[in-house]
C-alpha cells in the first residue's frame, strides 16, 4: 500500500468532481431536495406521530451515507471507463487496494460533507437535531453504513469490470431496490413478516433499528449494532473475494483492457 498512489486517485477524483455537475447534482442537490421533501412530510407527520416524523427524517439523512459511499466507489471507476483511461491507471504501478481505498475515502468525505450540510439544514428548517440520536450511535451507524456501502460498491464495480458498461445502470439503481427492504424510514415491524426475513439479511436493517432505539430511548443497542457489524464483516470478506475474482476474470477475458464507453 502506497499512500502517494492513493492520493493520486484522490487528486483525480477532485479534478473530475470540480467539473462534473452531474455528480454534484447526484450527491448534493438530489439528497438536499430529498431532505426538503421528507422534512416537510415529517413536519406534517409530527402533528399526529412525532416519533414517526423523526424516524423519517433520520432515515433520510442516514440513507445518504450508503448512497454516496456506494456511488463514489462505483462511479469513480466509470468516469475512467468512459474516458478510456482505466487501463492507463493500471498500467501504472497502481494496486487494486490502493484504488479502492482512494474511492472509499472519497465516498466517506463526500458523505460526511453532505450529511453535515443536510443535518444543519434540518436544524434550521425543521427544528430537528440529528445529534439527538446520540454521538456514539451516530458513529456506530456511520461506520456500519460505510462498510455495507463499500461491500455493495465493490461488488457492483466488479460486475461492471467483468461485464462492461452495458450493466452500468446497476451503479445507480441497485441501492434503490434495497432501500424499502432495510426499513430506513419505518420500524421493521411495519413490513410483512415474509419481507422481514429478507430484510434481516441486510445489515442496514439492524442499524436503522438501533438508531430508532437510540432516538426513542437514548440507549445504545449493542446487540443490533453488533449483528450489523458481524454481517458487514462477512459481506466485506465475500465482496472482496468476489471483486478480486471478477477482476481476474475481466483480465482473463480481455474485458478489462477493452473496457470503454
Amino acid at each position: 500500500m502506497n499512500f502517494r498512489r492513493v492520493r493520486a486517485i484522490l487528486w483525480q477524483e477532485l479534478f473530475v468532481l470540480r467539473r462534473s455537475y452531474e455528480v454534484i447534482a447526484d450527491i448534493i442537490v438530489f439528497p438536499f431536495t430529498n431532505i426538503l421533501v421528507f422534512g416537510f412530510i415529517s413536519v406534517y407527520l409530527s402533528k399526529e406521530n412525532p416519533a414517526a416524523a423523526q424516524f423519517v427524517i433520520t432515515g433520510m439523512l442516514l440513507w445518504g451515507i450508503i448512497w454516496i459511499v456506494q456511488y463514489s466507489v462505483t462511479l469513480g471507476s466509470l468516469w475512467n471507463i468512459w474516458s478510456r483511461n482505466l487501463a492507463n491507471l493500471f498500467i501504472a504501478p497502481l494496486q487494486l487496494n490502493e484504488y479502492i481505498l482512494a474511492h472509499t475515502i472519497s465516498g466517506i468525505v463526500k458523505s460526511l460533507l453532505v450529511l453535515t450540510i443536510n443535518a444543519v439544514l434540518c436544524v434550521y428548517v425543521f427544528h430537528f437535531n440529528l445529534l439527538s440520536v446520540g454521538i456514539l450511535p451516530l458513529v456506530l451507524a456511520f461506520a456500519n453504513f460505510v462498510l455495507f456501502a463499500y461491500a455493495l460498491g465493490i461488488t457492483l464495480l466488479g460486475l461492471i469490470w467483468k461485464y462492461g458498461t452495458r450493466i452500468q445502470a446497476v451503479s445507480w439503481s441497485l441501492v434503490g431496490l434495497i432501500q424499502p427492504l432495510v426499513a430506513a424510514f419505518y420500524p421493521l415491524s411495519v413490513l410483512p413478516v415474509y419481507v422481514q426475513w429478507v430484510s434481516i439479511l441486510f445489515s442496514p436493517t439492524f442499524v436503522f433499528e438501533a438508531v430508532r432505539t437510540a432516538l426513542t430511548t437514548g440507549n445504545v443497542d449493542w446487540t443490533l449494532f453488533g449483528i450489523a457489524f458481524v454481517q458487514n464483516c462477512v459481506y466485506c470478506v465475500i465482496a472482496s473475494k468476489l471483486f478480486v475474482s471478477m477482476y481476474d476474470a475481466s483480465r482473463d477475458s480481455g474485458q478489462f483492457a477493452r473496457n470503454e464507453a
Binding site: N2, R4, R5, R7, A8, I9, W11, Q12, F15, V16, R19, S20, W79, N80, S83, R84, N85, A87, N88, L89, F90, I91, A92, P93, L94, Q95, D248, R251, D252, S253, G254, F256, A257
Partner: protein
C-alpha cells in the same frame, strides 16, 4: 541482459489462440517492431505485457525480474502509450499529468511535468481540457505522460493510428529523438510497414498469434531477391516482345510505352543492357525493390505471394 524477455507467451480466448507461444526479447536502446495485420495478436501482446490482460502461459521478465511475481516493481520502470486508450477527457492536460506523476511517485513532479510539456511543445495547452485537444496534440500529451517515470522501455501500441501523415511523421521523429537522447528501448506495434522500416532496429512479423519472421528490416527485405525493373520508352519496337517471349521473362505493360519485368537484384544490370540492345529508346528507368509488405505477404500468405507480373 535484455530489457524485456518473453518466452512461449500464450493468450487464449476460449478456443481462440490470440497469442500462440511467442518468444522474443528487446535489447536496451533498441526499437523492436511488431508488425502484422489486424487480428495478428499485436495489441493483445501489448496488453499482456502491460499487465491489464492475463496470460495463459509463458513467462515475461523485465530487467531480469519476473513480471508475474513482481508486477509493481516492473510497472514502475516501464510505460505504455496506445492509440486505443486516452487520458481523462474532462480534466486538463496538467491535471492528467499530475495524476500520473503521483501514481509513478515522480520526484519534483511539477518541474518534471513542465519540462515534458515544454519538450513536446504543449505547454500552452497545459490548462486545456484533454477532450478539447486535437488528435495530434493528444498523441503528444500521451507521449509526455509515457515519459513521466523515465521508463527504461516503452510499449507503444499503434501510436500513429488515426493521425494525419504530417502529425504521424512528427510523432515518428519524436520517437527517433527519444531513442537517441534517452537510450530507451521501445516495443512498437503497427500495421504500417513504412513506419516500421523507418524506425525499427528489428522487426517481428506476427500472424495469427505466431511469429512468422524476425530480423532487421534490411535482412528481411534482402531475403526476397525478386525485384521489378520498369522501363519507359519512346516508341515500341517489334523486337522487344520477341525478346521477352524468347527469354520467358515475366513481364507486363503497365502503360502502352512502359514495361515491367520481374527479375532478381543481380540480373537487373544485364537485363537492362539486353533490353537496350533491342533498339528501344529508354526515357525512364525505375527499379522496384521488395518492401516489408512483400516479405510479409511471401511469408504469411504464400498463396498470394510476392506480386508476379503477367506474361503476354
Amino acid at each position: 541482459m535484455p530489457v524485456l524477455e518473453v518466452k512461449n507467451l500464450v493468450k487464449t480466448y476460449g478456443d481462440f489462440r490470440a497469442v500462440d507461444g511467442i518468444s522474443f526479447s528487446v535489447p536496451r536502446g533498441k526499437i523492436v517492431g511488431f508488425l502484422g495485420p489486424n487480428g495478428a495478436g499485436k495489441t493483445t501482446t501489448i496488453q499482456v505485457l502491460s499487465g491489464i490482460t492475463k496470460q495463459n502461459g509463458g513467462t515475461i521478465s523485465y530487467f531480469g525480474i519476473d513480471f508475474q511475481k513482481n508486477p509493481i516493481e516492473c510497472l514502475q520502470r516501464i510505460n505504455t502509450t496506445s492509440a486505443f486508450n486516452t487520458l481523462m477527457g474532462r480534466i486538463t492536460v496538467w491535471e492528467n499529468m499530475f495524476t500520473f506523476a503521483e501514481l509513478y511517485q515522480v520526484p519534483h513532479s511539477r518541474k518534471k511535468i513542465a519540462d515534458l510539456l515544454e519538450q513536446f511543445e504543449i505547454s500552452s495547452h497545459a490548462h486545456i481540457l484533454y477532450k478539447d485537444l486535437s488528435a495530434g496534440q493528444r498523441t503528444r500529451v500521451n507521449l509526455a505522460k509515457a515519459l513521466l517515470n523515465d521508463p527504461e522501455i516503452l510499449l507503444m501500441d499503434e501510436p500513429t493510428a488515426s493521425l494525419d501523415p504530417d502529425i504521424a511523421d512528427k510523432t515518428l521523429s519524436t520517437i527517433e529523438t527519444l531513442r537517441k537522447e534517452r537510450n530507451i528501448s521501445i516495443l512498437y506495434t503497427s500495421h504500417n510497414m513504412n513506419e516500421i522500416t523507418r524506425i525499427c532496429d528489428e522487426v517481428i512479423f506476427l500472424d495469427r498469434g505466431k511469429i512468422v519472421a524476425q530480423d532487421t528490416p534490411e535482412n528481411l527485405t534482402k531475403s526476397i531477391s525478386a525485384a521489378t525493373l520498369q522501363v519507359t520508352f519512346r516508341e515500341e519496337i517489334p523486337g522487344l516482345r520477341t525478346y521477352l517471349t524468347e527469354r520467358k521473362l515475366n513481364h507486363s505493360f503497365p502503360a502502352p510505352l512502359s514495361i515491367a519485368v520481374e527479375s532478381t537484384d543481380h540480373d537487373i544490370p544485364g537485363l537492362l543492357f539486353d533490353l537496350s540492345k533491342t533498339g528501344i529508346w529508354i526515357t525512364d528507368i525505375e527499379i522496384k525493390k521488395p518492401t516489408l509488405e512483400d516479405v510479409f505477404l511471401q511469408i504469411a500468405r504464400p498463396d498470394k505471394g510476392a506480386p508476379k507480373a503477367s506474361t503476354i
